[in-house]
């Protein structure tokens, strides 16, 4: 598709964006209230109480239905540019999430988050290196899969593959594997969380550690509890998410060093160079919002500024997640297979289950902020 510029670009965004806005409006204003009151199997609110459906899960499901059923597997050209704004919405929303914390509150739970994330990220990478070698996977693919399963699906795959000379077609299959696993965990995690009566803190910490893709962590936390406020699942999950995102350049450096150590034509790699190239800049915006919140510049808890900001966030996440759903092509995910699937699935399941056990055994029910 030809890249549009200026006014033409803005105009081309409108149709797809209008579909997403209208869809979210219908879901939030009509469908969600109807689900809350609907009586199914003699129980009022069965959809909400039993299936744990809310507008976040509905947004993702509707996005998936658009792509896979209504659009027949490909977002049509007229809607393409609009759906591509998904990244912008989620990125802006994550930056605004920084307002849920103060520097003091981050310091209180940040240590646990850093400890858990680093243990699981590097533990998973080492497992993939061991298991990948055992099943005879190519070294470049071991590197990509290690980053994907260790840090966060798509971003880590993309960041690592040029450094380890992985074939883009193989990278696409690795992405399909981690996305497939992520979708499964995104829908079953709220059920497991409710069944085990996990608190928002435990749930956020668990999915922040155990789910591979950052967008899916966000969606799963909001599916568990759609409230956006300090002390909710999304507030805790996002701390874990941000710590993990910050680790991307370090993981890329670690894997690149591991890969080139065994190659004859070694490349000159520096950590500084990789940080400059791969550091996710939006994280600075997230911490900027935390700084503003710490200085009291966004008002006290309950202020109209914060209320408005959280209402805006709930809408932008809803829009972003419709778009995320629309990027999920079930047929593409079904194509995942072979050794990447074997290794990715083993690493993903192991991380997901061990993270749950660790959280239940060692993380307190309530956080200190």
């Amino acid at each position: 598709m030809e890249e549009k510029q200026g006014v033409a670009k803005v105009v081309s965004i409108i149709p797809g964006l209008a579909v997403m806005v209208l869809t979210l409006y219908v879901l939030r204003i009509f469908v969600e209230p109807w689900m809350t009151d609907a009586v199914v199997f003699g129980q009022k609110g069965w959809f909400v109480k039993v299936l744990h459906l809310n507008y976040i899960l509905l947004a993702i499901i509707t996005g998936m239905l658009y792509r896979n059923v209504l659009f027949g597997g490909k977002i049509p050209e007229w809607a393409e540019e609009g759906f591509r704004t998904t990244r912008l919405f989620i990125k802006s929303g994550v930056i605004m999430l920084g307002s849920l914390y103060t520097i003091q509150s981050l310091a209180k739970v940040g240590g646990i988050a850093i400890g858990l994330i680093m243990t699981f990220v590097f533990g998973t990478i080492l497992f993939v290196m061991w298991f990948g070698k055992r099943v005879g996977m190519e070294r470049s693919m071991i590197g990509v899969m290690g980053a994907a399963a260790g840090v966060c699906g798509v971003s880590a795959c993309i960041a690592t593959s040029p450094a380890v000379r992985a074939k883009p077609a193989d990278v696409a299959l690795a992405i399909a594997t981690v996305l497939g696993f992520g979708i499964m965990t995104m829908f079953i995690s709220p059920f497991i969380g409710h069944a085990l009566q996990l608190t928002d803190y435990q749930f956020g910490a668990w999915v922040g550690t155990g789910i591979l893709n950052s967008g899916q962590v966000l969606a799963t936390c909001l599916a568990y509890n759609p409230t956006i406020a300090p002390g909710t699942a999304v507030a805790y999950g996002e701390i874990w998410n941000v710590v993990r995102v910050i680790s991307i350049p370090f993981v890329v450096f670690f894997i690149t060093m591991w890969y080139w150590r065994a190659e004859a034509e070694a490349e000159c790699i520096t950590l500084g160079g990789i940080i400059k190239d791969k550091f996710p800049v939006f994280v600075i915006g997230f911490f900027g919002m935390t700084a503003l919140s710490s200085l009291g510049m966004l008002g006290a808890e309950g202020s109209s500024t914060l209320k408005l900001m959280r209402e805006v966030m709930s809408w932008i996440f809803g829009l972003g997640l419709i778009g995320q759903g629309a990027y999920i092509d079930i047929r593409e995910i079904k194509a995942a297979g072979g050794k990447p699937l074997q290794v990715g699935l083993a690493a993903g399941v192991l991380k997901y289950v061990i993270a749950l056990i660790v959280i239940m055994l060692f993380v307190s029910k309530e956080a200190s902020f």
Binding site: I90, V154, A159, P162, P168, A169, A172
Partner: protein, 145 residues
């Protein structure tokens, strides 16, 4: 008779198209489609800065160009060995089957030869053959890998 060979990394489909062109005295064209769909495929990734995404997209484009070069060289060698003239064409598209169908429409071909499963760019994850069969007006020969 005009034959179009849709190129991917399959040498079996190359040989089959060359054999048919030789046996029937047909005019053979081969089409390599550069997949430009990487930006859209990775479009839902929201963590990386534009620089890191750009690095990957450049890397994917370079890989596409390298594959085009390698495939063209492979085909040329085989065509020479088979004593068949083959015209090589290149197109770029976000979806490879769409470019194949566009070429079929404008080229007036009688037969399309392609490998199955077709492994060109992001088609490794998709069913290119079904897409092509739905839209093709001519006969289609699917060559098993």
């Amino acid at each position: 008779m005009r034959i179009l060979l849709a190129l991917d990394d399959s040498t079996r489909s190359m040989d089959e198209a060359l054999r048919l062109a030789h046996d029937r005295g047909a005019e053979l064209s081969a089409l390599f489609v550069l997949d430009t769909g990487w930006s859209v495929y990775t479009g839902h990734d929201f963590l990386l800065g534009s620089h890191a995404r750009g690095t990957f997209l450049d890397y994917a484009r370079d890989d596409e160009l390298a594959q085009e070069k390698a495939t063209a060289a492979e085909l040329q060698n085989r065509a020479q060995a088979a004593g068949v003239d083959c015209q090589l064409k290149t197109a770029a598209a976000g979806r490879v089957p769409e470019a194949i169908l566009a070429e079929l429409k404008t080229g007036g071909y009688d037969l399309l030869v392609m490998s199955h499963p077709f492994r060109r760019g992001l088609e490794v994850m998709r069913d290119a053959a079904t897409q092509v069969l739905k839209g093709a007006d001519c006969d289609v020969l699917l060559v098993k890998r």
